[in-house]
Amino acid sequence: MSEISRADVEHLAKLAHISMTEQELQKMAQELAVIVDSVATVSEAVSGDIHATSHPLPLTNVFREDEVGHVFTAEQSLLNAPDAEAGRFKVPAILDEE
């Protein structure tokens, strides 16, 4: 079940927005196959009637009053921006994709 091909990695890299060279794709496919093989044992360990744990503590319903707390100024928010203009984040074209 753990066959993981170069094409699979290419698809995953696209989903994860990481550009990869041909060499990286091949190396990653090999490494992932080994790792996926070793972690695949977990599906053998469980049967259907065990509940899934997503969080270590049974905390539920953490509520608080909906009040305005500390907020950053626009200036502070833009301080680390790679590019900004007129009080806004500046990004390359969002449309016009291939």
């Binding site: 079940m1 993981i4 699979d8 990695v9 995953l12 890299a13 989903l15 994860a16 927005h17 990481i18 550009s19 990869m20 990286e24 990653m28 490494e31 992932l32 080994v34 790792i35 996926v36 070793s38 972690v39 695949a40 044992t41 977990v42 599906s43 360990a45 469980v46 065990i50 509940h51 899934a52 744990t53 997503s54 969080h55 270590p56 503590l57 905390l59 953490v62 608080r64 950053f72 502070q76 928010s77 301080l79 680390n80 921006a81 790679p82 590019d83 984040f89 990004v91 390359p92 074209a93 969002i94 016009d96 994709e97 291939e98």
Partner: protein
């Protein structure tokens, strides 16, 4: 380096605090002594490289403030926190205003957090001079600190070896007397395993006991901030300072913070039921590690502890479950590094300049290999068709592991195991074998999956390198791991110097040390 400096930095944090309080030393002198030590041993080709940033001015300013308050006396001096004036280092995964935070990644090169993590707010309120930020595996992903984008950290016991990871910088800084205390984060062992590798003490609190607000998230259901120190008393003092409910962290626990330092001082194991986990010994564990482990059991038994064996069969699947859950959560948490609002932006070398292509080239250039590996693995584990088999099964294993712990804690008050299967390995040894690297975490991971507290204390040497002994306790029972850990520490140092005092002298490596600037 003067004798005085040499003596100051080898005190425990508790001793430093007592001397500051009694007016025998000043915080400025103490902080300067550590800055001198950093200048002497941290830089250069064979230096420890524990620090990514040293905050000389800020640390001295805080120190001077504490000294002025003490000198002034009165209510303000009385109100000072017991650790006021004792310097500390902060893992560079924890955000700090006024000091850069990189997470060990090129992605955050030059980034300045606009806010402090809650634990940093607490350090500042208690007036601990922050010496700087410590090195780590990129985004805390690793067990050796070799995956930092800013060079590896070296183990003070042998500079050709790894200091553990991901918090190798914090552990090495404390072991090398560059800082008496440090903060770490532990997702699968990143505080405890470096503690074991460097002969220091590392604590992973109960999940939620210390606020995660301002810790750059790797795997949110596993991450936990905790103390790094040379003694259990120092770790307990720091744990008490940083613990407590924080409304900014929705997974933060409410309730009283236990008086851990008091428990440490009075620790004994008479009548304590100590459970040896059958699955965390034997195959894969080095002989020397097991020898120190069995000595620890003998010592505890002789002091009145009842040693019992506990069976945790699902632990055989813990590593597999961890390496599905952690990358899954990480792939989601790291999606925010897209070159839009902060951090590095790298434009593609050719072709259309669209946001999608900019994200792709930014993440290609900004992330290192291990981070990419985990993001891709996590994306795979969460993808349609595989979700149930991988992520879903891993979450079920998590339930089984909690059930194993529940059963074990019926028979034992605390559990014990070696912290890591091996002593520190040579730098570069596992470069081409990510899976071998992952095996380092086999004994520490179950605690993160179950959210329980753990503590690694020095258990002696094997082949001249430190071995760590790990204690585990049920959720919210952090006091038990401190009690057991402190008792073992006391028993092992009854007729011997503590391990941290036995570390070899470090050569002065940096330019600054060769030409001291008249300090």
């Amino acid at each position: 380096m003067s004798t005085h400096t040499h003596e100051l930095i080898r005190l425990t944090a508790a001793e430093m605090a007592a001397k500051l309080c009694a007016g025998e030393i000043t915080s400025v002198a103490l902080t300067q002594a550590h800055l001198d030590r950093i200048a002497a041993v941290d830089g250069g080709e064979r230096g420890i490289n524990a620090f990514l940033h040293v905050a000389t001015e800020e640390a001295l300013r805080t120190a001077a403030e504490v000294d002025a308050i003490r000198a002034g006396g009165g209510a303000e001096a009385e109100a000072l926190h017991p650790l006021a004036g004792v310097p500390i280092a902060v893992k560079d995964l924890i955000v700090t205003e006024g000091q850069p935070t990189t997470a060990g990644s090129k992605m955050l090169d030059g980034w300045m957090s606009p806010y402090d993590a809650t634990v940093v707010t607490k350090l500042r309120a208690a007036k601990l001079p922050i010496l700087g930020k410590t090195n780590l595996d990129e985004f805390a992903m690793g067990s050796s600190t070799e995956h930092s984008a800013y060079g590896e950290t070296r183990n003070p016991w042998d500079v050709t070896r790894i200091p553990g990871g991901s918090g190798g910088g914090s552990a090495a800084a404390v072991a090398a007397f560059e800082a008496p205390l440090a903060l770490g984060t532990d997702t699968g062992g990143s505080i405890r395993q470096p503690g074991a590798m460097t002969g220091t003490v590392g604590g992973k609190p109960t999940y939620g006991a210390v606020s995660r607000y301002g810790a750059i998230a790797m795997a949110s259901s596993l991450d936990q901030i905790g103390p790094v120190a040379r003694t259990t008393e120092d770790a307990a003092l720091l744990h008490e300072l940083i613990a407590g409910h924080d409304p900014k962290d929705s997974t933060s626990l409410t309730g009283e913070v236990p008086a851990l330092a008091e428990i440490v001082r009075g620790a004994d194991v008479a009548g304590l039921r100590v459970g040896v986990i059958k699955q965390l010994q034997g195959e894969g564990y080095q002989e020397g590690v097991l020898a120190r482990f069995h000595e620890a059991l003998d010592v505890l038994r002789a002091a009145g502890a009842e040693i019992v064996e506990v069976d945790c069969p699902s632990f055989d699947y813990a590593l597999g479950a961890y390496y599905l859950i952690m990358p899954s959560e990480a792939s989601s948490n790291l999606a925010k590094f897209d070159g839009v609002r902060y951090g590095t932006r790298v434009l593609p070398e050719d072709g259309a300049l669209t946001i999608e292509r900019v994200m792709g080239s930014t993440r290609a250039a900004g992330f290192g290999d291990e981070v990419k590996r985990r993001i891709i693995l996590g994306t795979y584990a969460l993808s349609a068709g595989y979700y149930d088999a991988y992520y879903g099964s891993a979450q079920k294993v998590r339930t089984l592991i909690q059930q194993d712990f529940d059963a074990a804690f019926e028979k034992a008050d605390v559990l014990i195991s070696p912290t890591s299967p091996t002593v520190a390995f040579p730098l570069g040894e596992n470069d081409d074998d990510p899976l071998a690297m992952y095996l380092n975490d086999v004994a520490t991971i179950p605690a993160n999956l179950a959210g329980i507290p753990g503590l690694s204390v020095p258990g002696g040497l094997s082949e001249g390198l430190p071995v760590g002994i790990q204690f585990l306790a049920p959720i919210r029972e952090d006091a038990r791991v401190y009690r057991a850990g402190a008792a073992l520490e006391k028993l092992l140092t009854k007729d011997a110097e503590p391990l941290w005092a036995q570390a070899p002298e470090l050569a002065e490596t940096s330019e600054a040390a060769a030409h001291p600037a008249g300090k």
